[in-house]
C-alpha cells in the first residue's frame, strides 16, 4: 500500500503519446533514479476486437507494441495519455520535469502533484485479489491482463 510519505506526480500531455515517445520519456524519467512505482494510463488498445460482428478477430494496431524501458520489455496495452509516478521524495520533481522537457518535445504537457494511486483496497480489489493481496500492486494493474513489470537493477 502506498505510504503517505511518498509524493506522487502525474504527467499529462496534450496529445496521446506514441510508443516511441513513451519509451523516450520513460527512460529519461527512470534514469533520474527517484521513481518507485509507475502507471502508464490511457485508453485501452485490446488485442482482439472487443465488440460487434468482428468480435474476437485480431486487432493489429501500431500503438500496441512492446517498448524497452530501462532495458526491459514492457507490453503497452493502452495509448498512453498520462504517466503517473510515485517518487522516493519531492527532491526528484525538478529532475522529472527536466526529463519530460527532453522527452516530450512535439506538444505541450504539464506535471501535477497530488494523490493519483489507490491508497486503500476497494471492494472490487477484495473480490479480485482476496484479503491477502500484495498491497504494493493494488491499483497498479488489472488481473487477467499482462500484469505489472518490475524494472530490475534500478536501485
Amino acid at each position: 500500500m502506498t505510504d503517505a510519505i511518498y509524493p506522487q506526480v502525474r504527467v499529462v500531455s496534450e496529445r496521446l503519446m506514441n510508443p516511441e515517445t513513451v519509451e523516450r520519456v520513460m527512460n529519461l524519467i527512470i534514469a533520474t533514479g527517484g521513481v518507485r512505482r509507475v502507471i502508464l494510463n490511457g485508453p485501452r488498445l485490446p488485442a482482439t476486437v472487443p465488440y460487434g460482428p468482428a468480435k474476437g478477430l485480431p486487432n493489429p494496431t501500431e500503438m500496441r507494441r512492446k517498448i524497452k524501458i530501462a532495458g526491459q520489455d514492457v507490453q503497452l496495452e493502452v495509448h498512453v495519455g498520462n504517466i503517473v509516478l510515485e517518487l522516493e521524495n519531492r527532491d526528484f520533481i525538478p529532475a522529472i520535469r527536466e526529463a519530460c522537457e527532453k522527452g516530450i518535445t512535439k506538444f505541450s504537457w504539464y506535471l501535477q502533484e497530488g494523490r493519483f494511486m489507490k491508497t486503500e483496497p476497494s471492494l472490487v480489489d477484495y473480490a479480485k485479489y482476496g484479503p491477502d493481496a500484495d498491497k504494493t500492486i493494488v491499483g497498479l494493474t488489472e488481473p487477467g491482463k499482462s500484469g505489472l513489470v518490475i524494472l530490475q537493477g534500478n536501485k
Binding site: N18, P46, V49, L57, T61, E62
Partner: protein
C-alpha cells in the same frame, strides 16, 4: 406567407455552418473523390459488385394494398427494389470535426429520404435501404461534412470523440481502422467500419488543416475555437426554449 425554415439561431461561424449544412438548398462543397467501390468496402455490408440482397420482392412484383399514403409517397430506389436496411455510423472528434451527431441527424432528415438517423453522444448512425445508403454515404464522406482525421467511420467500438488526439492529429481509435500515411499525408482505411481487415486500402484523402477545420466546424469549443458562451443569440434562444418548456404546464404567455 410561405413558411421559411430558419434551421437554427446564432451569429457565429459555428452557427452559420450548422444552418448551412442543414439547409438542403445549400450544395455541400465537394472536398474529395471517393469511388462507389470504396464506400462499399468501408461499410462492409456486401462485397463490391455483388447483387443487393433483398428483404422482400421488388414493389412492382408484389401486391400492394390499396393505401392512399402509398399512392402519395413515391418509394426510394432502395425500397422499390426491396433492399435490406443497412447502416453507416460516424464518430466526430470534439476537436473541430466538421459535423457532430445532432447536426448529422438533423441534416440527414432535411436532405435525404427514407432515412432513420440515430443520435448518441459520441456517434451517429443512419439506417436506410442499402442502395440509398451507398448514395447518401458517398455524399457524407466526400463533402465538407467529413474530415479524414477528425471523423471516423465506425460501426462498433466507436470510443474516441472526446479523447485527446494522437500525436499525428488522428482521433483515437482502438481498432485503428485508418492510418495516416505520413509520406503522402494521406489517410487510408485498412479495416472496414466494424474492424475487419480490408483486402485493399481505401484512401479517404488528406487531413484538413486547422484553419479549414475551424472555418467548417459545427462544434463550439472554448479551447481554441468559438466558445458557446460567446454566441449571445444562441444562448438567448436556448434559454427561451428552456424557460418555455419548463413553464409549459402553466400555460406560459409571452
Amino acid at each position: 406567407m410561405a413558411y421559411k425554415p430558419q434551421y437554427g439561431p446564432g451569429s457565429t461561424v459555428v452557427a452559420e455552418n450548422r444552418r448551412k449544412y442543414m439547409d438542403p438548398s445549400h450544395k455541400l462543397e465537394k472536398v474529395r473523390d471517393i469511388s462507389d467501390e470504396d464506400i462499399v468496402l468501408l461499410m462492409g455490408h456486401r462485397a463490391p459488385g455483388a447483387a443487393y440482397p433483398t428483404a422482400h420482392p421488388p414493389l412492382s412484383e408484389q401486391q400492394e394494398p390499396d393505401c392512399p399514403v402509398r399512392k402519395l409517397v413515391a418509394p426510394t430506389d432502395g425500397a422499390k427494389h426491396g433492399d435490406r436496411v443497412r447502416y453507416i455510423q460516424f464518430t466526430d472528434s470534439m476537436f473541430f470535426a466538421p459535423a457532430q451527431p445532432y447536426l448529422r441527424s438533423y441534416l440527414e432528415s432535411y436532405r435525404y429520404r427514407g432515412v432513420d438517423p440515430g443520435t448518441l453522444s459520441g456517434r451517429q448512425i443512419v439506417e436506410c435501404r442499402e442502395r440509398d445508403l451507398e448514395k447518401y454515404a458517398k455524399e457524407l464522406v466526400s463533402t465538407e461534412l467529413f474530415d479524414p482525421a477528425r471523423t471516423g467511420i465506425r460501426g462498433a467500438t466507436v470510443h474516441g470523440h472526446s479523447l485527446r488526439l494522437a500525436e499525428d492529429g488522428m482521433m483515437f481509435d482502438m481498432l485503428q481502422r485508418c492510418v495516416l500515411d505520413k509520406k503522402g499525408n494521406m489517410v487510408k482505411y485498412v479495416k472496414n467500419q466494424i474492424g475487419e481487415p480490408l483486402d485493399k486500402e481505401v484512401k479517404v484523402g488528406k487531413p484538413m488543416d486547422d484553419k479549414w477545420l475551424k472555418a467548417h466546424t459545427t462544434i463550439y469549443h472554448s479551447l481554441g475555437g468559438i466558445a458557446f458562451r460567446d454566441d449571445a443569440e444562441y444562448i438567448e434562444w436556448v434559454q427561451r426554449i428552456h424557460s418555455l418548456r419548463t413553464k409549459y404546464g402553466f400555460m406560459p404567455e409571452e
